[in-house]
């Protein structure tokens, strides 16, 4: 101790205070930076890997871009690669999912944020979180063995098969519900309390305040939740792989069995697929489409959320 103090009291202050090279510190900072950069490399790797294989696919003699984007038959055996056969099922199941998840999720969000007492919230929120935490393969089981039989009984066993887009879409809606509910609830709670008070002070009822002031004020956040929900539905694999049907089919009829983009990738790659074949590279072309669509959706929703935050800051 005493030596330290005497050294501090030494007359040569300039030498004492001069910047010292701390190699350990610099090495640590450099490696932390490298780790941060790694996350960008992952995105680059995804883009390069998917792009590279997709290019190989489009370079195949039996494939051309026009056919890929504009035709509706996907039968690799006879050289048909029209992605609409898969996109139609992705759109149909995702649309059903959003039709289920948006009204339910938004209602749940309004109830939790404006109506529920703290004790009710303490019970209700974990239920939504549990729903969000269930692995999708379990939802697939539920879709195939619980929802599909009910749908078939209601619609008529002769009209609907075991595998159908409706059951898969409905269950996907239940899966997305907690996501939409939680983002929308965040948006509603972010509306400043002064707006609530202002509206109540005008003699409005709780429903009038919620539906006519708070929901419009939180609209961008709610919009972002819907976009994230769509992105999740488009990318969801296991529910559709199990319950929506195997085999591409161009159809928008929810009662049909049809394979989505993700379902197709899962089924084809499930076998020991030889590398470098058209079947193999075609999966990367599909995955690239998926990646781009979800990337754009995610960017949009992030942009909305950032704008929304600025609005009240």
């Amino acid at each position: 101790m005493t030596t330290k103090i005497s050294s501090l009291a030494a007359p040569n202050w300039a030498a004492q205070l001069r910047k010292k090279a701390r190699w350990g510190e610099s090495a640590i900072e450099a490696s932390l930076f490298a780790v941060g950069i790694l996350t960008i490399l992952i995105t680059l790797a995804i883009t390069i890997v998917l792009g590279d294989q997709a290019l190989l696919f489009f370079a195949e003699p039996e494939v051309n871009l026009q056919e890929f984007f504009l035709t509706t038959s996907w039968q690799p055996q006879i050289g048909d690669f029209g992605i609409w056969a898969l996109v139609s099922a992705t759109l149909t199941t995702s649309a059903i999912a959003i039709l289920v998840a948006l009204p339910l999720g938004l209602s749940a969000a309004i109830y939790l944020s404006e109506y529920a007492k703290p004790r009710a919230r303490a019970v209700l929120k974990p239920i939504l979180e549990t729903l969000a935490g269930i692995p999708t393969v379990v939802y697939g089981y539920f879709a195939l063995l619980f929802v599909s039989p009910i749908v078939r009984n209601l619609v008529g066993v002769e009209k609907v098969g075991v595998y159908n887009m409706l059951s898969a879409g409905l269950v996907m809606g239940i899966m997305i519900l907690p996501l939409i509910a939680s983002i929308s609830e965040d948006a509603l709670s972010a509306v400043p309390n002064s707006l609530r008070e202002g509206a109540y002070a005008m003699g409005a009822t709780k429903f009038e305040v919620s539906s006519q002031v708070l929901v419009p004020a939180a609209l961008s956040g709610i919009g972002a939740s819907v976009i994230v929900g769509i992105s999740r539905a488009v990318g969801e694999t296991m529910i559709v792989a199990i319950a929506s049907g195997a085999g591409p089919k161009f159809s928008f009829n929810p009662l049909d069995a049809a394979e989505t983009m993700t379902g197709h990738i899962a089924r084809i790659s499930g076998g020991d697929l030889p590398y470098g074949t058209v079947d193999y590279t075609s999966l990367f072309a599909i995955a690239l489409m998926l990646f781009l669509v979800t990337l754009i959706l995610n960017l949009i929703s992030q942009w909305i959320v950032t704008k929304f935050r600025e609005q009240y800051e």
Partner: protein, 411 residues
Amino acid sequence: MPSFTYPEKNELERFVAARYRTGWVWQVIFLSALIIAIFSLSALLLNIVDGAFGYVAYEFKKDPLTISEKPLDQLNQQELIALLQANLSRGAYNKLNNEKPMESRSQGELYNLVIERIIQVKTLQTYPLFRSLFEKAAIEAEVSERYPGARLEFRSWLSPTFLTTPQSSKAEFAGVRTAVLGSLWLVGIAIAFALPVGVGAAVYLQEYANKKSFISRVIQTNINNLAGVPSIVYGMLGLAIFVRAWEPFTSGAMFGITDTNGRTILSAGLTMGILVLPLVIINAQEAIKAVPDSLRQAAYGVGATRWQTVWHHVLPNALPGILTGSILAMSRAIGETAPLIVVGASTFITIDPQSPFTKFTALPIQIYQWTSRAQSEFQAIAAAAILVLLGLLLTLNATAILLRNRFQRRW
């Protein structure tokens, strides 16, 4: 000064009452969304429980009473071996013995062999739990009419044996041992990769990077985007990079292991690690953000360097949050299925995984495979496997809560 006419007296009363009625109707509608969510959750859970237990109608090829005087499950190891020797052809017995010497097999394994190879149980029909409980008479009548001579027994598909036996081509003898071990390996590798990398990235972003700088904004946006990339796309990444490009490493060829290709536990674990990385980073960032600034200033104030501040003060205080986040990431990894299908999980594996360089199967893969089978007994073991998976998830989450509470008390 303006004066406007509003409803008064009776009209006002009716008007306000109508507004309240509308509000009440909508409140019921809002609440019903949550009721539907609760209903779905209970339907899902009940549906699984319903499938995992219930009556089974089955028949024996050979009646156990004809080969042994004592009930089979009371025979000891030696008696079971003798039974197998007496009832199997020499060739079949030797083959089994070569796979694994009879003496080294446990009583349970031998019992299963006897049932599988000699008694040869055949499941004719399975019944779900609630029907089994409430319509026992109808089930008995149906079985005696449709399958004369069949036996009816209440069976819990989820059992200790189910947990400890490996996969089998017959649902009656299949278990999840290899799948559970595979899942644990996967999650272990995933978190061993994602935790240090994720915490490092979070520390960089929160403690080192200038938050307004271009590069840190790009990294941040990129992480948020990675969190939204469909899991199957990560599978494609893993397939192209870990399984194919890095095959010498991931198959273990570099280390002298020759009997596998790149579709190993290591490839799948790394794929999962990349998949949960954004989750780990975002959670770790939140945990680091929650550490009060006064603590950092105090450390700097006594002459600590930046890293000393981070290592001695910020990270220890952020630890509970980081741990909780990691456990959430593990829950995500343990339930993910699609990327495993793509990187090539094997579906039929009976040997416990020994190293990261072995072929693997995992719990969700088994669930997927069994769910996709048409026979009701496979759907029953799928339900049982789901219960195992949900049990694992519950354990993980409970651990997260316990850890968090414990650490919160300490600091």
